[in-house]
């Protein structure tokens, strides 16, 4: 904490941190100094000059910009003196002379800082009678963003964001003086994963989003605050709708999570909500064809067939997959449904994400996102955060670039953070454990890396770099990380509310509240509310699917899960579902998986229901309703409650809020967390375990065993390559598939090879390559990728039209037949 100094603003004495910018200090004490270029999350540039104020100095009163002046003891500031006001009015007049004043047709009209500040601080009328500047307009600067250079006031917020925050300096000023304009570079669009943020921070309507242009006026929008569920950060957003259609998401500045930023996937990934493809009525399959059914009819079918299987073969013959796309309340209902109504421990919210549920839910000590800001060293041994979690990527980037933290990145391929890394270690998939052993040993070149890592506090972001990697490696990495000074681990998995679902006990090894299944105390506590729960060992997602294939399991309940698309071993997922005697799916869409179900219930989506979600640091936040679901869609918990009634064991839930109260009762780490708390007092969310609460399972992986690591290392079969299979920001997941602005941005199928391997195989950029694994054989265009190790190929996972290659390490690669042009 910096020393406090006393300064006087407009005659009022306030105490502010020494060195604080006057514009921020004044705002924190209720004095709003007008501004355009200054943004609280970016470096100050003092360009627009709107925040001119008078400051008394020993050499007389000076007129200067509040955004570039730092508070010092005894400083006297006048923000509204005659001279300051005249200067501010003058700047506004200058900004307006070339502004087209087309507010009636501008998206920004009604929420435009230029409009608002002109009303508050500006002159009444224009004295400008000359010709305004003209440009061709609007011009697309990316697939998602349009630029109107006539409206632009050249504040450099967008260019600074691109450079300073996103690390994609793809827009810049061109020319000078009165001809200055924002431009992209020739043949290089502003194809940043974060381009949409520039639309939000543009203080005029110069940057507009293709998805929102001319759709609504801000004063017509119905707005609620919520948390994004595209990845596990839970970025705070405002969900904005008109006439029951969600029209846009904007970032909300929650210091704990996203600080206002969103990746374009999260900003524009709302289109699926209003998709025409959404399910509107229950569907029942009759003779291989779906037909629309009434709720009563569909529930009868489920009660008959699922009921019969449970009765004849026991609950143990039924598996449940899903819950990661649901709220905590829905996931809790799912867990309670599976364990008490069905009587099965076969339930999992993970879709072969490959990380142990105890590790994800209870690794300890667990880092908070904000710990990144205070870290001396950050270790990222996880998926490429730029592809999987945009705002977490920005936070790490910011910590390194602006706060000077050291960064060590370990990954089989280049990642978005490599340009900021102090050390980057590249390895062949399969050889991660050996590399970890070497690193922990600190011999040779690893000594320097270890030296960097010995600067605490250390925050380690730990996950599975790709889908062929040994699932246990992350725990070993965490064990290593926790041996570093003052270290904490941020466990990383990207699937939506998977952390919440695990906290709700949607895993074979966990009960609600981070308790281990089989723990007698926790079981007793839970049974007091739930009644008896099954005791047999449960299966995870792959176990359930394999059980269906083998005939050990007979029925499957899918809750917002698409294993055929999302599980790397898609073949097993499909065969499992086809083998099942009965499948009931609760879903937004007919997906590759719910297509195979016998009964499908239409569910409510994000924005259509209330509840809570829990992010990767354990932060619980409220999500809210702003539109109603299409047709007869219902919340997951309602559907499960209906089914439970028909099965004769009613869950008896009255509302989602009532479920949240039950969670607080049943799951001690959630004790004290209520919707009311989240709405009013805990605006940045509440971190679990909340308050004084502990958690039953504190999973602290032991130190590094180099021999065990060496045994864990694997190599592909002789003659084969090691496969690196990893997710991309945009892919063929069902939500992306139904968000049309984004689906087209998926990179598509490709096989990346090291240049030496490509030369050896006689493959050049773009030529077709035969790729064969135990699961699939496909022909993909080659991309020469020097960031890989030799002997490795990288294939992006889940791309449109490309079958899954499975999670086997070995892949056989050969030059495809030449296709003549």
């Amino acid at each position: 904490m910096a020393d406090l100094v006393k300064i006087t603003v407009d005659g009022r004495q306030i105490e502010v941190p020494h060195g604080e910018l006057v514009i921020r200090a004044a705002q924190d004490h209720g004095v709003y100094i007008p501004r355009f270029c200054w943004h609280p999350r970016m470096r100050e540039v003092g360009m627009c000059r709107m925040c001119l104020v008078e400051i008394e100095t020993p050499r007389g009163t000076i007129l200067t910009t509040a955004c570039t002046t730092t508070a010092a003891e005894g400083m006297v500031v006048h923000t509204a003196s005659d001279t300051a006001k005249k200067a501010q009015e003058g700047i506004l007049e200058f900004l307006l002379i070339n502004h087209p004043l087309d507010c009636p047709v501008c998206d920004k009209g009604g929420e435009c800082p230029l409009q608002d500040q002109t009303m508050a601080f500006g002159p009444g009328e224009s004295r400008f009678v000359e010709e305004k500047r003209h440009y061709e307009k609007p011009i697309p600067i990316s697939d998602l963003v349009f630029l109107d250079r006539e409206r632009c006031i050249l504040c450099a917020r967008c260019t600074r964001f691109a450079d300073e925050i996103a690390g994609d300096p793809l827009i810049e000023f061109k020319d000078r003086g009165n001809h200055t304009s924002v431009e992209t570079f020739p043949d290089l669009p502003f194809s940043s994963y974060f381009s949409g943020n520039t639309v939000q921070i543009c203080p005029v309507g110069a940057l507009t989003a293709s998805a929102y242009r001319f759709k609504a006026r801000p004063w017509d929008l119905l707005v609620v605050e919520s948390s994004c569920s595209h990845c596990t950060v839970g970025c705070r957003i405002s969900v904005e709708s008109s006439q029951n259609h969600v029209l846009r998401f904007n970032g909300v500045d929650n210091g704990a999570t996203n600080q206002g930023w969103l990746s374009d996937k999260c900003r524009f990934g709302f289109e699926f909500i209003g998709s025409e493809q959404r399910l509107r009525t229950p569907l029942v399959k009759v003779e291989g064809e779906f037909r629309e059914a009434s709720w009563a009819e569909a529930l009868d079918v489920v009660a008959d067939r699922l009921g019969a299987i449970i009765e004849e073969q026991g609950g143990d013959a039924v598996g449940g997959i899903g819950g990661a796309r649901s709220t905590n309340e829905d996931a809790y209902a799912f867990g309670k449904f599976m364990r008490t109504v069905v009587g099965s421990n076969h339930l999992d919210a993970r879709l072969d994400d490959g990380l142990d549920a105890r590790f994800l839910a209870a690794v300890s000590p667990r880092a908070k996102i904000a710990d990144l800001d205070r870290a001396a060293t950050i270790l990222v041994w996880a998926p490429d955060l730029k592809e999987e979690s945009g705002s977490l990527y920005l936070r790490v980037r910011h910590a390194v670039q602006e706060r000077g933290a050291k960064l060590v990145v370990v990954h089989p391929r280049r990642t978005g953070l490599d340009d900021r890394a102090t050390h980057k270690l590249t390895y062949r998939p399969g050889e991660g454990p050996a590399l970890l052993g070497e690193l922990a040993g600190g011999a040779g070149d690893y000594a320097k890396v270890l030296e960097t890592l010995s600067l605490g506090p250390v925050v380690a972001v730990v996950g599975r770099t790709g889908l062929t990697e040994q699932p246990q490696l992350a725990e070993e990495v965490a064990a290593f990380a926790l041996s570093l000074p003052d270290a904490k681990v941020l466990p990383f998995a990207r699937r939506s509310n998977v952390f919440g679902a695990l906290d709700m006990g949607v895993a074979p090894t966990l009960l609600p509240g981070r308790a281990a299944a089989g723990d007698s105390e926790a079981t007793g506590h839970l049974e007091a509310v739930w009644g008896p729960i099954p005791t047999q060992a449960g299966r995870d997602t792959m176990g359930i699917l394999q059980g269906l294939v083998d005939g050990d399991l007979k029925a499957l309940v899918l809750l917002g899960a698409d294993p055929v698309r999302d599980v790397p071993a898609a073949g097993i997922a499909r065969r499992g579902m086809e083998s099942a005697e009965f499948v009931v799916a609760i879903d937004l869409f007919l997906t590759d998986s719910s297509e195979l179900a016998d009964v499908v219930f239409p569910a409510e989506a994000f924005g259509e229901k209330e509840g809570t979600i829990t992010n990767l640091e354990g932060r619980v936040q409220k999500v809210n309703r702003v539109v109603t679901g299409p047709g007869q869609s219902q919340a997951d918990w309602t559907i499960l409650d209906d089914i439970s009634r028909r099965l004769g064991k009613p869950l008896g839930f009255a509302s989602a809020e009532a479920i949240s109260k039950e969670i607080a009762d049943v799951a001690p780490p959630y004790g004290g967390i209520s919707w009311e708390l989240l709405e009013w007092d805990a605006k940045e969310g509440a971190v679990v375990p909340y308050g004084e609460a502990g958690q039953p399972v504190a999973y602290r992986p032991d130190g590094v065993d180099r021999e065990a690591l060496a045994a864990m290392s694997r190599n592909p079969e002789s003659g084969a390559f090691a496969l690196h299979l990893a997710r991309t920001l945009y892919d063929d997941g069902v939500l992306m598939r139904n968000s049309l602005s984004l689906h087209a941005l998926a990179p598509g199928g490709a096989v990346h090879l090291h240049p030496a391997d490509a030369a050896r195989l006689g493959v050049s950029e773009g030529s077709l390559v035969e790729v064969e694994t135990v699961d699939a054989s496909v022909r993909l265009p080659a991309v020469i990728d020097p960031s890989l190790a030799t002997g490795v190929v990288y294939v992006p996972f889940n791309q449109p039209g490309i079958p899954s290659l499975g999670s086997d390490l070995s892949v056989v690669v050969a030059a495809g037949e030449e296709v003549s042009a």
Binding site: L63, T65, A87, D175, R176, N178
Partner: protein
């Protein structure tokens, strides 16, 4: 100059020096480079200069063609390969955070070139040149409507009358002197009624509301339309504005447009006051030395011709507006 650089570098324990030359001056740049090459060959620059263990490298950098890169922080940005835009002071005072954020001394070539002469002559003899208030000599570049335009090194303390009529040979075709710009385009103008017998020193010039600046003296005779002259100077600044800050980018262009409209015969009675108020929004109070709402002094520089015309030639400006065109044809 090279000698001056070496002395300055040794005095300040500097080992890297740059000579920044505008991109429009390739021939002078080649000459400077040639001289530097010769100095390297002679062992005056490079590793171990003059046989000592002192290293000094001098690099000639050609700018991209921007007046604003004469401003020290704009120059530094340009040297770093960035857009030629001045930096905010504070915190970017070159002596604290200059080139690549290292402490940096930025001086005019003329200043550095004086150093060896001061050393050679001794401070007392040097001080004996010029005026008691302003010692030594100064380089004047006299241009415009004089018989003898050119560069002259003269001691401080002579009068403007001596400079224009004796040194530069008087007004061409023996016309009347109307006005002159005493120190580069950014300096407020002088007129014969008030300033001809003023001694040329920094203080006297500042007291009279202008500056010696670069020493570029531009002389205008009676045939000069002051509105057109002011428009030309403002257009220069509008063209050279880096565009970074609002008042300079928008204000200089707006003033240029108004002056051109007045010159073209479409002036309005409100234009004189409007010009002054725009000027005031760039340089509050229209005082000297100028205050500024801008990041650097380029914006206020464009105000100088406007205030000069409204101060000394308001009648001529109003004639333009009332007659719908230039009275001088």
């Amino acid at each position: 100059m090279i000698e001056g650089i070496i002395v300055t570098a040794v005095a300040n324990e500097v080992h890297e020096a740059f000579v920044y030359i505008r991109g429009e001056y390739p021939k002078p740049a080649r000459r400077v480079q040639q001289a530097i090459d010769e100095a390297y060959a002679a062992g005056y620059l490079g590793k171990g200069i003059f046989g000592t263990d002192y290293d000094l490298d001098v690099t000639v950098h050609l700018g991209g063609g921007a007046y604003i890169c004469g401003e020290e922080t704009g120059l530094i940005n340009s040297l770093e390969g960035k857009r030629g835009e001045p930096r905010i002071k504070p915190p970017y005072f070159p002596a604290a955070k200059g080139l690549y954020l290292m402490p940096t001394i930025v001086n005019n070539v003329e200043t550095v070139s004086n150093v060896p002469h001061i050393l050679a002559m001794g401070a007392d003899d040097y001080r004996a040149l010029g005026h008691a208030d302003d010692t030594g000599t100064f380089l004047f570049s006299v241009s415009g409507h004089v018989k003898g335009p050119g560069n002259y090194e003269l001691p401080h303390g002579i009068t403007w009358r001596e400079l224009i009529f004796d040194v530069a040979g008087g007004i061409r075709e023996d016309r009347e002197l109307k006005a002159w710009i005493p120190g580069g385009a950014s300096a407020p103008w002088f007129v014969p009624e008030h300033h001809l017998d003023l001694e040329i020193t920094k203080d006297a010039t500042a007291k009279a509301g202008s500056m010696l600046g670069s020493g570029a003296v531009i002389v205008m005779d009676e045939t000069t339309c002051v509105v057109k002259a002011a428009e030309r100077v403002v257009r220069f600044f509008s063209h050279e504005s880096c565009g970074q800050c609002t008042p300079c980018r928008e204000g200089t262009t707006w003033m240029e447009m108004i002056l051109r409209r007045v010159e073209d015969g479409f002036g309005r009675s409100v234009d004189a006051e409007l010009l002054l108020d725009i000027s005031d929004n760039i340089s509050p109070g229209l005082a000297w030395p100028p205050k500024q709402t801008t990041i650097c002094p380029l914006g206020p520089s464009a105000v100088s011709p406007v205030t000069s015309v409204t101060r000394y030639f308001r009648d001529e400006l109003m004639q333009h507006i009332e007659q719908g065109g230039c009275p001088l044809g």
